[in-house]
Structures are given as structure tokens and as C-alpha cells.
Amino acid sequence: MGRFVPVAAVLGILSIAISFAFAADTYEVDPAHSFVIFRCLNVAQANSVFVYGRFTDIKGRIVADKDLAKSSVEITINAESLDTGVPERDKHLKSPDFLNTRQFPTITFRSKKVEAAGKNRYRVTGDLTLHGVTRPITITVTKVGEGKNFKGVSVIGFETTFTIKRSDFGMKGLMNVAGNEVTLTVAIMGIRK
């Protein structure tokens, strides 16, 4: 009994240490260092140019766990924050012609599965909700880096580029104005809570 108590204590401390070491880290998406950029072919301009734009209001949460099954990501984008640099075009893109932001004010992504896909690369499967339509997508995400920033706060950053068809999300009109394929680059940085 005398020997058992110190062994149990050591094991207990060890298990607490291990659980801390493998505990999930939760990060809050930092809007100042997160970017959602899109590009779409301008068909009305004789397919001669891509229009680029971004969403400036991004929120979300990243749960990073060594056990990838416990990792997750949730991103919410304010669709009204769309900015292509031309206010008139922004209003057009936000109208019922495309995003219909007054009916569908947010774009969300919620992961369902995270798998390894190489060094610092992950295959993330989840539901993308856009224009009121939810569809499963699988994207390959690269971890750009992690560590303590200049303030000593733990941060982590990921980036991905993928292409969707707007018609898959109920935006089937005006194909003679804007292309069907929209390429999105999502770069997010999370600040550890």
C-alpha cells in the first residue's frame, strides 16, 4: 500500500500531462488576418477577364487536435461584406441575380471530417451553405504555419483554394454575364482562446 500511493500519484500526474498535451486547441478566426477571395469569369466581357472580389467580414472557430477525428472548422462569412472594388458591381452581385444577400445574408462552412493528406496538408469534408443551398464539399487545406505571434499569443493559419459551380447552389441565371465556375481562396488565421 505504501508503495502504491506514489506510483498512483505519478500515473495520475502523467495522465493529466498527457491529456493536456493532446487536448484540442480552440482558435477564434481573426478577421484582420483572414481572407476569402473569389474569382469568376466575366462572360459579358467576351470571357476576356476574371472579376476578383473578397468578403471582408469573416468569423469562425478552428479546433485543432492531434486526433484529427476531433478536429473541426466552422466559418461564417457575412455575404453583405462582398467587395470587388466597384460598388455598383457589388450591389449587382448582392442582388437576387446572384447571392441575394437580403434573403441569404451568410455563407457558412461546417466541417464533418478532417483527414491527413500529407505533411501539413488536410482533406476537410463538410457542408458549404451558399445562397440557401447546403452541399457537401471536400477541400484540401494546407497549414501555413503556427506558433506564437509578436504579442506572444498562439496563432495558427490555414489556406485552401477550391472551385465550385454557382449553379450547384441555385444561382443558375445570367450565365451569359458571369461564368458558372467560381474559384475561392480561403486563408484564415486563428487566435488561440
Partner: protein
């Protein structure tokens, strides 16, 4: 220019063909059968013609609406069904008008309910006010269609819907602009058909379907795009310009003068409607 011509033809040609075919059937039926059936077929021509054009413009037709404009073909068919009921001779006028008001408020309600930024009481308030305006518009147009046996009304409605599409385009919605263009094409087809079959009034029966679509497109433009309320009011008044002919001074005018007067008032009102939208938003400079 070729871009706009191609777009306009793609949108308007299929509705033109379908409306012409239905009106052909209606003109045959009207010679042999009760008036109510020909009225129903006229309303059917507008509803089906619009729905085909709507499908081309939006790329889809859905029985379960997702985006707000998906409701518009369903409203057209609700008005079509209602026109069947309305033409039953035994329904007393007060009940008929009450049912019309209920359908009007319900139609505006379904368009406003998906709006994310407006509270429920605000949505209901707007639905009641705009629904009441729609019911008055519908009744006014219906009365005009009974009184005007010429093709002035389809021509006037077609011109108004065509210019209305310009107001919607300026208000940042090319899609709603196209839908108004489709409505203009359908009414324009009715007018062209009248040029060929002059014995028959085209406007009768179609006023309910036109009213719900015309209001529905502009309410969508107001709340989901940037069509100014004042523009919408002028545009809604324009189809009712025929009422000017009920004023004492215009009754003694020759027939052609009355037509010119009605069309001129219509054009003046739509010019105000478009002008206000242009003044607020400017002309589109991007593409």
C-alpha cells in the same frame, strides 16, 4: 448591341410562340363556348408564357421556392386558379373582392417572409399595405379591361412592363429586369395577336395574373434589390392611366385622342419611375 438582342430573343421567342398558340385556341373557343372559358385561356396564356420566360431567365423552375423570385410563377398560377373561381357568376361582389384582398396580402407576404433583415411585424405591416395596393391595382385594371374593348390595354401594359425592366436594371437586378421584359413580351404578343384577330379583347381575364406578376416583380425589386419605393409607386400607377378617360374633359375626345392620351400618361408615369431610379443610382457603368 448584339449581346442584348440575342439575350432578348432567347428570352422572348419561346413565350411568344406559346402565348400565340394558346391565344389561337382561345380565339377558337371564344367563338363557340362561354366567355368565361376564353377569359381563363387568356389568363392561362399569360401565366404559361411568363413561366416559360421565367424558366429561361432564372435557369430553373421550382415547385419548392428557394430564392424569392422562385415564387413568381407560383403566384401566376395562384392568380390563374383564382380567375377560375372569380368567374363563377354566383359569387357576390363583396366576397369576390375580399378573396382578392386575401390573395393579394398572402402573395406579398410570401415574397417578404424570406427577407432576413426585417422583423416579423414590419413584414406583416408591409404585406398588408402593399397587399391592399395590389388589390386596388388589380380591381382597377380589371375594371379597365371590362371597359376597354380595344387592344389599348395590352399595348399599354406591355410598354409599361418593358420600361419597368429598365428601372429594375438600373436598380441593380438584371434578372428581375429580364422577368419584367418577359412580362412585356407576353403582353406584346397579346397585342400583336389582336392586330390579327381584332374582334376579341385580349385584356379580359389576364388582369389578375398580370397584377400579381407586375407587383411581385417590383416588390422583389424593392426589398431584394434597390428599386426605390417612389419609383415603384409611379410604375404601378402607369397601367391604370386608362382611368384618365373617365374624367369629364376626356370623354368627348375622339377615339384616337383617347388612346394617345392614355399612352402618354402611361409613358409620363413610367418616365418618372425610371427617372427616380436613375437619379438615385445613376446609369450602370460596369459590366
Amino acid at each position: 448591341m448584339a449581346f442584348f438582342v440575342k439575350s432578348a430573343l432567347t428570352l422572348t421567342l419561346p413565350p411568344f410562340i406559346v402565348v400565340t398558340l394558346i391565344l389561337l385556341v382561345a380565339s377558337v373557343v371564344s367563338k363557340r363556348s362561354p366567355q368565361n372559358l376564353s377569359r381563363f385561356l387568356t389568363a392561362l396564356a399569360v401565366a404559361v408564357g411568363y413561366t416559360i420566360g421565367h424558366g429561361i431567365a432564372t435557369g430553373s423552375l421550382s415547385l419548392i421556392p428557394k430564392s424569392v423570385e422562385d415564387w413568381l410563377p407560383l403566384l401566376a398560377f395562384a392568380a390563374l386558379t383564382f380567375s377560375l373561381l372569380e368567374n363563377l357568376p354566383k359569387i357576390p361582389a363583396p366576397i369576390r373582392l375580399s378573396l382578392r384582398l386575401i390573395l393579394s396580402v398572402a402573395s406579398i407576404s410570401v415574397l417578404l417572409m424570406p427577407l432576413a433583415a426585417l422583423s416579423l411585424p414590419s413584414k406583416l405591416g408591409w404585406a398588408f399595405v402593399l397587399g391592399l395596393m395590389l388589390a386596388v391595382f388589380w380591381t382597377g385594371l380589371d375594371e379597365l379591361s371590362e371597359k376597354q374593348t380595344e387592344a389599348v390595354l395590352p399595348l399599354s401594359l406591355s410598354v409599361v412592363a418593358a420600361i419597368n425592366s429598365a428601372a429594375l436594371f438600373v436598380s441593380h437586378s438584371a434578372k428581375l429586369s429580364q422577368l419584367s421584359g418577359v412580362l412585356a413580351a407576353v403582353l406584346g404578343t397579346m397585342f400583336l395577336f389582336w392586330l390579327w384577330q381584332r374582334q376579341w379583347s385580349m385584356a379580359k381575364g389576364a388582369s389578375g395574373v398580370f397584377s400579381l406578376l407586375f407587383f411581385g416583380i417590383n416588390v422583389s425589386g424593392m426589398f431584394y434589390a434597390d428599386l426605390p419605393l417612389l419609383s415603384a409607386i409611379f410604375l404601378w400607377l402607369a397601367p391604370l392611366s386608362g382611368w384618365i378617360l373617365k374624367l369629364p374633359f376626356s370623354k368627348n375626345l375622339p377615339n384616337w385622342s383617347q388612346i394617345v392620351l392614355q399612352i402618354s400618361i402611361s409613358l409620363l408615369l413610367v418616365a418618372f419611375g425610371v427617372g427616380i431610379a436613375v437619379r438615385l443610382h445613376g446609369l450602370p457603368t460596369f459590366g
